[in-house]
Point group: C2
Chain length 107, copies 2
DNA sequence: TATTATTATCGTAATATTGCGATATATAAT
DNA sequence: ATTATATATCGCAATATTACGATAATAATA
């Protein structure tokens, strides 16, 4: 036991869950918000800003990136992470619909 | 190690993360949607509907309930779970704002 | 009160996540 | 080429989550 049975759920439900999983750690929420506030993001700043070890920040960034919420390009010595507007829009809509639908149908 | 450092993050970021955590498993997403579709929800139906053991469904329901997204009242022999509209509204707004802010500030 | 049906809790095993130090890799500047 | 800085990966330990069978608790009904 102990392994999630993702295969028994619909594509839609799995996708909502995947996005929520990335947002389910406060460090990742803080990282996303911080990136959105910067002109260009320098990761080393994140280590100071968030207060976790560099290796841990890198791991969190990777999970966000795997989902496609951010993309990184090198700018000189530093990596510049940006929100991927396309993916962000898509997930914003899916979440919005989910919240709205459940609310709408409620008893 | 292995313990989340929730104390170093803001109340707001922790709250978004808590809600996302509940939505981070497809079973809980499916449960919420199913409950919203029913007049009154009977948990035993969920076992058939979702396809997980009764103990597991009960655990998932408990996590949703702990966050305040649903509330249960007995109707005769059965428990009727309903979406808590107040909590739902609040979290819908917080999520909406988060998505919108990040999008808005993005480079 | 005994029975039946529904839901919750307990105990346990498997797996996943979080975090960090150490180390590797990559880029810029010297 | 060497050095310095930035980021990624590895390996490990601690903790959390997922799932289920067994069992307990709860409530309606006979």
């Amino acid at each position: 036991m102990g392994v999630s049975k993702t295969h028994i759920f619909s594509e839609k439900h799995n996708q909502i869950a995947s996005v929520a999983k990335v947002l389910s750690h406060p460090a990742r929420v803080a990282i996303l918000e911080y990136i959105s506030r910067q002109e260009g993001c320098i990761c080393n700043d994140l280590v100071d800003e968030i207060g976790l070890a560099q290796a841990t920040i890198s791991q969190h960034l990777n999970e966000i990136k795997k989902l496609g919420l951010i993309k990184g390009t090198f700018e000189g010595k530093n990596l510049c992470y940006c929100i991927d507007q396309n993916t962000w829009d898509t997930f914003q809509n899916h979440f919005g619909e989910f919240f709205q639908n459940v609310k709408f149908n409620c008893c």
